[in-house]
């Protein structure tokens, strides 16, 4: 199992449990599309590697969130992955935040 989903009122936390967001884990990550709440935060705390196949899976979540008018955030992103996300302009659609910040603004 590559992800674990925690549902709170209006906030979904998708804990990515695999160390690699890549072609192998893409399907399981895309599956989070069915679990989006008002706001969904992807927790990258355990992730050591992300490649473009993994980014494609993340983009599918971005697309689904947009369709549903919901918001997507990223938690615990390493400096390297932040750089990669910036290269492909991902942070525009999945801004970095912290759990504290999200909880402080719980609706």
């Amino acid at each position: 199992m590559s992800i674990m989903i925690e549902q709170n009122s209006g906030l979904t936390i998708v804990r990515i449990l695999t160390d690699s967001v890549d072609a192998l884990s893409a399907k399981e990550i895309e599956a989070a599309a069915g679990e989006l709440r008002e706001r969904t935060a992807l927790d990258f705390g355990k992730v050591l590697f992300i490649n473009s196949a993994g980014i494609s899976a993340l983009l599918k979540l971005v697309i689904e969130a947009r369709k549903q008018g919901k918001k997507l955030y990223a938690l615990n992103v390493t400096a390297h992955h932040r750089k990669v996300f910036e290269m492909v302009d991902m942070l525009r659609y999945m801004p970095l935040t912290t759990l504290e910040e999200l909880q402080a603004t719980t609706t």
């Binding site: 192998l24 400096a79 990669v84």
Partner: protein, 172 residues
């Protein structure tokens, strides 16, 4: 002077599960060369993208067809050559524009970021494709050079372009 005594060669079946062998090997090579953590991560990602393309687009996921990866430890750079049995890579492959994310988000299955990422991460790329074989070579200068200072040099004598390649090499 080139030395190739430290070359490493890996051949894997065309299945994503084995891409990890190459990705992990890149870390060992980077450690051997004294790469910093960030540059190690860059190498790992670039290698992963090239191998993924060789598996998917070159060998079309046929598990009985091998992807070859050579880590060539040259005097002033690391070259990583990824070889597939496709020979169908487009000549302009190494000129990917920056992605238009809004366009990608209009697609069902947004892809097409791999080569762009490679271009951002490596000091040079070189493509030879044709006659049932694609060789995609990336290199990393060992002394980090600001991107604008990299000379548009011809590939070194260690680069061994295959006979009969149809496209000439170039740097990003």
């Amino acid at each position: 002077m080139m030395t190739e005594m430290n070359d490493i060669e890996i051949n894997i079946p065309s299945d994503h599960v084995f891409e990890r062998i190459v990705r992990d090997s890149a870390v060992v090579v980077a450690r051997y060369l004294g790469f910093a953590e960030e540059r190690t991560a860059d190498l790992q990602l670039a290698v992963s993208e090239a191998v993924t393309n060789a598996i998917e687009h070159g060998n079309k996921g046929r598990i009985d067809v091998k992807v070859g990866v050579h880590f060539l430890l040259q005097h002033d750079r690391l070259a990583v050559r990824v070889i597939d049995q496709g020979g169908n890579a487009p000549a302009d492959l190494t000129h990917q524009p920056a992605p238009h994310m809004e366009e990608k988000l209009a697609e069902d299955s947004p892809r097409g970021l791999g080569i762009f990422l490679i271009q951002q991460l490596v000091d040079g790329v070189e493509l030879h494709s044709g006659e049932g074989r694609t060789e995609f070579t990336m290199w990393f200068n060992l002394k980090e050079t600001p991107a604008e200072e990299i000379p548009p040099a011809a590939p070194g004598p260690g680069a061994h372009p295959p006979p009969g390649d149809e496209q000439s090499g170039e740097e990003t």
